[in-house]
């Protein structure tokens, strides 16, 4: 999914009606937003945080210093680790790490839904749709989290709904 399309999705999920136009810069097609008030903003994470503030939903950026830093850490993870990694081995490690991280968490920051969940969900969608049933079960915590986010009101929109099977099929693999 192109970054511009993703930001449009994000705008809708935040309830922003205006509809910004985005251009893309360079080889990696980094999104650029021309704001009315100031200079252009460049970069997916930067623009996403900006949109949240525009929608007056600052709570999505975290409420304590710790939570804020964690949200930003996962936004950075999204643009550095998830994007651009198309090599199978990297994705395997990424899902394994995330699975282990989410073992004791409902959302990325713990108990609160934040922008990090939305942006990581959008970023991972293209990988998760291709997972086999067995892999989905292997990355059980990721699957649980992903399924939860895609059912969050207003987030998924036109993206395909990924089916997860609740009964375990491959018990011996664990």
């Amino acid at each position: 999914m192109a970054a511009a399309a993703e930001l449009t999705l994000l705008e809708k999920s935040l309830g922003l009606s205006k509809g910004n136009k985005y251009s893309a810069q360079g080889e990696r097609q980094i999104p650029v937003l021309q704001t009315n008030s100031g200079p252009c903003l460049t970069g997916l994470a930067t623009i996403a945080a900006h949109l949240v503030k525009e929608a007056n939903k600052e709570f999505l950026l975290g409420s304590t210093a710790e939570e804020k830093a964690i949200v930003q850490q996962w936004l950075e993870y999204r643009v550095t680790q998830v994007d651009g990694n198309s090599n199978k081995e990297d994705i395997r490690i990424l899902l394994k790490d995330l699975n282990s991280y989410l073992e004791d968490k409902v959302y990325l920051t713990g108990y609160n839904f934040t922008l990090a969940d939305i942006v990581l969900y959008y970023g991972l969608h293209r990988f998760i749709v291709d997972l086999t049933v067995q892999e989905k079960e292997k990355y059980l915590n990721v699957s649980r989290w992903f399924c939860h986010i895609q059912h969050y009101p207003g987030i998924r929109q036109h993206l395909s709904s990924v089916v997860f099977i609740k009964n375990r099929l491959y018990t011996n693999s664990h």
């Binding site: 460049t42 945080a49 210093a65 830093a69 550095t80 394994k96 282990s100 713990g110």
Partner: protein, 897 residues
Amino acid sequence: MRLFVSEGAPGTLPVLAAAGRAQGRAQLLISTVGPEECVVPFLTRPKIPVLQLDSGNYLFSTNAICRYFFLLSGSEQDDLTNQWLEWEATELQPALSAALYYLVVQGKKGEDVLGPIRRALTHIDHSLSRRSCPFLAGETESVADIVLWGALYPLLQDPAYLPEELGALHSWFQTLSSQEPCQRAAETVLKKQGILALRPYLQKQLQPSFLEGRAVSNEPEEEELATLSEEEIAMAVTAWEKGLGSLPPLRPKQKPVLPVAGERNVLITSALPYVNNVPHLGNIIGCVLSADVFARYSRLRQWNTLYLCGTDEYGTATETKAMEEGLTPQEICDKYHVIHADIYRWFNISFDIFGRTTTSQQTEITQDIFQRLWNRGFVLQDTVEQLRCERCARFLADRFVEGVCPFCGYEEARGDQCDKCGKLINAVELKKPQCKVCRSCPVVRSSRHLFLDLPKLEDRLEEWLGKTVPGSDWTPNARFIIRSWLRDGLKPRCITRDLKWGTPVPLEGFEDKVFYVWFDATFGYISITANYTDQWEKWWKNPEQVNLYQFMAKDNVPFHGLVFPCSALGAEDNYTLVSHLIATEYLNYEDGKFSKSRGVGVFGDMAKDTGIPADIWRFYLLYIRPEGQDSAFSWTDMLLKNNSELLNNLGNFINRAGMFVSKFFGGYVPEMVLTSDDQRLLAHVSLELQHYHQLLEKVRIRDALRSILTISRYGNQYIQVNEPWKRIKGSEADRQRAGTVTGLAVNIAALLSTMLQPYMPTVSSMIAAQLQLPSPACSILPTDFLCTLPAGHQIGTVSPLFQKLENDQIENLRQRFGGGQAKVSPKPAVVEIAGPQQIQVLMDEVTKQGNIVRELKAQKADKNQVAAEVAKLLDLKKQLALAEGKPLETPKGKKKK
């Protein structure tokens, strides 16, 4: 919370610096682990540094850790800061890890290291200079500054990897490097071993992915044009169409110039040159010429501007000189004042008044300020041991004594310093002291002196600095110097001297003493103004309405930033204090210093004997203005800059634009029908013009000159692409196109003439005369590019503006003024400087070969073939660098321990 670090892990640097900022907010334990240790339980690959929070959560991203420390100390991150941090993670880090890998692990040097990172460095530099803010996200420091500084420090601390032309990056980097938390972090991580401290860590890392699959090219990137939005283009077109009518009315010239309430009132001073020496080029660019550019710019903006300077005439140095020349001090001052005034007149310096300090107003004002300080208890008395020559019947100033150095035994040590061992000496400590005048042995006597009680004024000074400096245009070096003086604590300073040539001290018991020059020289600005108008208090006792800009070289900063403000604050008389202190670094001559005694360097009075016009001197000195760092005057460079920038770029463009109007359109500006390409050009020129304004408002004089040259380059490209000389012979449509291109080009030339005015006033008026530029357009520089020469405007006779400088001519001058080249101790290799023709031939070949390489790459030709052509290109570039006399290997030779 616990921070996990590893020896030599680069990420530790920003993290420690950020932690230093949030010190005391939380207890921080630091654990050192091996480079391959997995600290974070859920991550497969090792990651360092990591912060484990008290909640048990881990922050494993360097930037997130830094953010967290800043959040703890209460500073939130805005959009711009977020953008920089994202850019750092996605763009800078990949490039930087490649550069560090080449440098530290593979032991490569020079361009191999700089190549991958150059674009990123240029990006930072451009952003800093475009926004004209001292920090990345605005006026104050943010976490973005710390993160980028920390990432870049290992590389940039070696000056070889901090490209000289990136001035804004340079001063930003210096500012941050001088801060305490940063300094401490740097010491902890690099342990004074420089970049090598990173080796143990980097060797264990995977080869950065950047290295795979991407050919590293030495080709310079084409200069990127800013992307323009439709709105920007539309605005530029609207402004252009308004034309001359949108200029504000021209203000009548006033005499005397006085501040006006509600207007911008700019008072500009240039450091007062010592009367007894002829100023050299470094003195001229350091203050007088820099201030002149700003004063001229300020007048072009129609700000109410008063620019003053004068000779500083009192003091020991004048007495010495008088003795040497067998004249009275007054005669010496009269003689040299004229010499100074002549030099500045020749350089076309636009003083409103060029005065002197030996006036009755100086005595009156100095004594008044002293009296006020005395009455308020800011002056102390103390006894000082001093040498006195009985035969000459006077106390000897430091430079009137010579003797044996108490430290190294050197026989001819001076009263203040030994030339051999360089140690500072107290004159009374000299062994076998001698009076320099009569050679008799002086005796030690005590003498009562007055001291300015600076410690008592320190609080007021700090309060004033706190209100004034943040957000002002004080140069980073000035801020740094003042900060270090305050850190060391102020001490009382002696303000009297046992001399005759000075302002008398109006106090009983001090009749045979005068004020020390540094105390009263800075009051010279006020007394010179008082000589200009009896309403001087409207400028000097009007801090609310007057913006005071003071220009100087960095050695003068303490007097203007500390001593003068302390005296003025202590006098409690509502004095106007410096709002913007603009200090330059030093200008060197060729490879060494200017030296009058060794006859090395060009001095003000000799510049006109070179036959090179004053405007060319002004241009070159401003082009190399030591802004942010020391720079050097070089004859060869002056020739190249004259022939390439002035002759081939600026002169060529303005001349062609004018010639097309004369030759093809009978001297009348043709009708212009703008296409979307032309509109885009309008917007680019407008943008560059705005950049020029931003820079000059911040007194970034050297950088703003680059904007002029950039616009002229746009102009040349525009003519080159549209070829009006061919189209004029074509169809009706072609002829119309030729007209539009010519008309737009000649309007750009008109704009350049006004933009040049602060830098090259004579050339500017020559262009204005050739183009018959209407007078408001010569005197006001708007912020938008306007059509000042509408269709039908008749221009005058066009003639060339600049002359080529020839190699023999420059070689002769170099020899005449002592070029260093011949005298300097033998160099490892004697570089033969080629003639300009040879250089041109080589330049052409480099361009040709560059095109071949580019084409091959575009065609995705065979790798070996490309490599062979690239090798040829590199070889040509090397030859060119040698021919231009550029030192090829200097950065590589330097290795930091």
